[in-house]
């Protein structure tokens, strides 16, 4: 193995970022557009907001007021598809382009950019804007690598158990508090022709990772995950294998999506419609679902049903009863080659640090602007859905008390994450066993650890 290094100038700038072959050339070159145009005062920001509603809201309520309150700084916003964001960023940054404010899909991704020295250090700005006093401590810890702050966790999320409140009312059911109750309910619902959990990965096969996340956190527990993520124990240990076996059993029972094949093919619209119509009783999904629940429940969806959420119950003795997996939808950083780093940092501060502003935005566009701030009851405007407020306060309080778990997409490196997504399907189709799956993950994770790709793992309060 040699160690000859090449530079960006030698290969990448000249040939564009289409280095993976002519078949990808068009797509990759497209990613080079939209970068910072430099010029004094301009700050380029790529946002992952989807839909004309949230994008218009951003323009009117965030972009314009920011420019007004920061004379001389012009914000140049480009909305990128969330699924494509990292690929476009990777290409642009490698080519010396890209936005001034860099949004990555999570800490594990940010780590790679930090290692490649593509992000500016934010410590001075943290002092200038008082982020240590405003933001949650664990969030800043997570963005610090080698003692320097380089990324701010943003768009906080967690996994929840949603239930069709109207259906539960009709059937005299209450949200399950433990595994026995959950399984008894699933049996009863199945017997009555109702799918216990609306589920499917047809639109986004990677979303299968929600389930290992849920079963490892609520069966194996956050302490076991912390130990494995920090290399103290192995993912091949029985406690992780058993969690995956339990999930497979539930899928084999037809509890998730109706059948294994439907679990593979159901798209989000189908599964959410089933949930709203009462064909399915519950839905294991992230807090982001609250933003679209209105499309599937009530008059707008052509039914009279209502929804609510509850924390996912512990699936084994000893796991905390109210546990929230910590998910970080994105991180915010300042491009090392930003033309206007002060303006970029000012916008990061504007976006995350002012509770009054942020809560307004969070009420208007649920889950899009969840900043790492210590929220309490009464912090939010009256226009906010009380279910959303309850979730935000619960997550904020739980994480500040150390009562949190780990989502795969936030705390596992990219290769381990892809392994979790890809190979999980093979467990469900019985191509591999749960033990083989976990052993395989252990090997991939060890490689990731050896390469220093594991992001900082914050310790849960119970560990």
């Amino acid at each position: 193995m040699g160690n000859r290094r090449i530079t960006r100038r030698q290969f990448i700038q000249r040939s564009g970022a289409a280095a993976l072959g002519a078949s990808f050339a068009g797509t990759l070159l497209a990613g080079c557009g939209g970068g910072s145009e430099g010029g004094s005062g301009q700050v380029a920001y790529w946002s992952n907001l989807e839909g004309s509603g949230p994008q218009d809201y951003f323009g009117k309520n965030i972009e314009t007021p920011f420019e007004k309150s920061n004379k001389g700084t012009q914000l140049k916003v480009t909305f990128q598809p969330p699924d494509e964001m990292d690929r476009l960023l990777r290409t642009a940054l490698q080519g010396g382009e890209g936005p001034d404010i860099v949004m990555t899909p999570g800490p594990a991704y940010a780590q790679e950019y930090i290692d490649a020295n593509l992000f500016a250090e934010l410590d001075d700005y943290a002092g200038q804007y008082g982020w240590d006093d405003k933001l949650l401590g664990w969030a800043l810890d997570l963005g610090r690598v080698g003692g320097s702050l380089s990324a701010i966790p943003y768009q906080l999320q967690t996994m929840l158990l949603y239930y069709n409140k109207s259906l539960f009312g009709e059937m005299g059911m209450k949200p399950p508090k433990n595994r026995d109750e959950l399984e008894a309910m699933a049996e009863e619902l199945s017997g009555q022709g109702i799918t216990p959990f609306a589920a499917g990965i047809g639109d986004d096969p990677a979303s299968i990772e929600w389930y290992p996340t849920v079963f490892w956190n609520h069966y194996s527990g956050p302490d076991a995950l912390y130990q494995a993520l920090t290399g103290e124990t192995k993912f091949a240990d029985p406690i992780f294998v058993e969690a995956i076996e339990l999930f497979k059993t539930y899928v084999d029972n037809g509890w998730f999506g109706g059948s294994q094949e439907r679990f593979f093919s159901n798209g989000f619209d189908t599964l959410h419609a089933d949930f709203g119509e009462g064909k399915a009783a519950m839905n294991v999904e992230g807090s982001w679902f609250m933003a679209s629940a209105v499309d599937f429940f009530g008059q707008a969806a052509g039914n009279e049903n209502d929804w609510d959420w509850t924390p996912l119950p512990p699936l084994r003795e000893g796991v905390p009863p109210e546990l929230y997996e910590l998910g970080i939808g994105s991180t915010l950083s300042v491009n090392q080659s930003a033309q206007n780093p002060e303006g970029a940092a000012a916008f990061v501060d504007y976006l995350v640090a002012d509770k009054a502003r942020v809560t307004e935005w969070m009420a208007a566009v649920p889950s899009a602007f969840n900043a790492p701030l210590p929220f309490q009851e009464g912090d939010f405007p009256s226009s906010m859905d009380p279910r959303v407020e309850r979730q935000l306060v619960s997550l904020s309080q739980a994480t500040s008390e150390g009562n949190f778990g780990y989502t795969n997409w936030s705390f596992f490196p990219a290769k381990s994450t892809v392994y979790i997504q890809e190979e999980m399907q093979k467990v469900l189709t019985s191509d591999i066993t749960a033990a083989e799956y976990c052993s395989g993950l252990d090997e991939v994770f060890k490689e990731d650890r050896k390469e220093g790709l594991v992001p900082k793992i914050i310790k849960p309060g119970s560990a």
Partner: protein
């Protein structure tokens, strides 16, 4: 006048004109050449380099020699994906080509509404693959698609069948969708070729007592052989490079049941961040495509009428 004019032109003029014309041709070709060098040759050279490196797509690349190629040779996922490409090729060498020949032959027999049918057959080809895919995902939805509609009128054999969720059906189902968009184009190619076959050959065959099938085998097929070979070559290369429909509909799932090299390569590059390994994979695929083209050229030079 003419003689005087001729006499006035220097003897070297025709050669000079030819040179100027050649120069002009090069001038016209130059922009295209520059574009090709920039978007094909440059990235291709870079791809060759990166295939010998361990590169994540970010930062510097570490030279690893033939390591990526060695890894490919022991990569079960790559072999499975390549096998799916071969199956895909076999499907597309048979189904759309047979349908295309039949469609073109039937269309050649009618005059009225021929243009209408040509347009109808061709429309799916010009519709964006993402639209075609969404259309068929809805049509083949196990709960809300054609299966449940047929079941509601007493034909239940497709009810609840999850075409894209079944390991057994996913690959052929995606191929079916892609074929739906592709075969109309093949019809038009064959129809154009059929129209250039000399009608007198059919008359002569009839006089010799040839039936429809014998006319098809002995007149039509030889008459459209260059187009047929072109379509076969196009099909093989397209099948090796297939990506869009698989990525849009199943992303290679479930559990790799519809994974092809194109989607695997994408995942390696942009999900696992093994850009060097993906480059080696892409180069391997290009090598196979190039080999097939070379075989065709070789056979043609050996006198095969293809």
């Amino acid at each position: 006048m003419e003689a005087n004019h001729t006499a006035a032109v220097p003897k070297r003029a025709p050669g000079s004109l030819r040179r100027r014309r050649r120069m002009l041709a090069w001038v016209f070709m130059l922009p295209l050449l520059v574009v090709n060098v920039l978007v094909i040759l440059g990235p291709s050279v870079a791809t060759i380099y990166y295939s010998f490196t361990d590169w994540s797509g970010l930062g510097p690349a570490e030279f690893v020699g033939l390591e990526n190629y060695r890894e490919i040779l022991s990569d079960g996922d790559f072999y499975l994906a390549m096998w799916h490409n071969i199956l895909w090729t076999l499907i597309f060498l048979t189904v759309p080509i047979s349908m295309g020949l039949l469609g073109a032959f039937l269309l050649s027999q009618i005059n009225r509404f021929q243009i209408f049918f040509r347009i109808v057959y061709f429309i799916p080809y010009v519709v964006a693959s993402v639209v075609n895919a969404a259309l068929w995902q809805n049509i083949l939805d196990p709960d809300r698609g054609i299966g449940s509609t047929l079941a509601s009128i007493g034909i239940p054999f497709l009810d609840g069948v999850s075409f894209f969720g079944s390991e057994r059906l996913a690959l052929p189902a995606v191929a079916f969708v892609n074929n739906w968009a592709w075969w109309g184009f093949v019809v038009l190619l064959f129809l154009t070729a059929l129209q250039s076959v000399d009608a007198q050959l059919y008359d002569a065959a009839k006089v010799d007592g040839a039936g429809r099938w014998q006319q098809f085998i002995n007149v039509t097929i030889p008459g459209i052989r260059p187009t047929l070979v072109f379509v076969v070559l196009l099909t093989i290369i397209n099948s090796l490079l297939v990506f869009d429909y698989v990525y849009i509909i199943t992303r290679g799932g479930p559990a790799g049941a519809s994974e092809v090299v194109g989607t695997l390569m994408y995942k390696e590059a942009f999900e696992r961040f093994e850009a060097g390994y993906a480059a080696a994979m892409g180069l391997g695929l290009s090598f196979v495509s190039g080999l097939i083209v070379l075989v065709f050229i070789f056979l043609r030079r050996r006198g095969w009428e293809i």
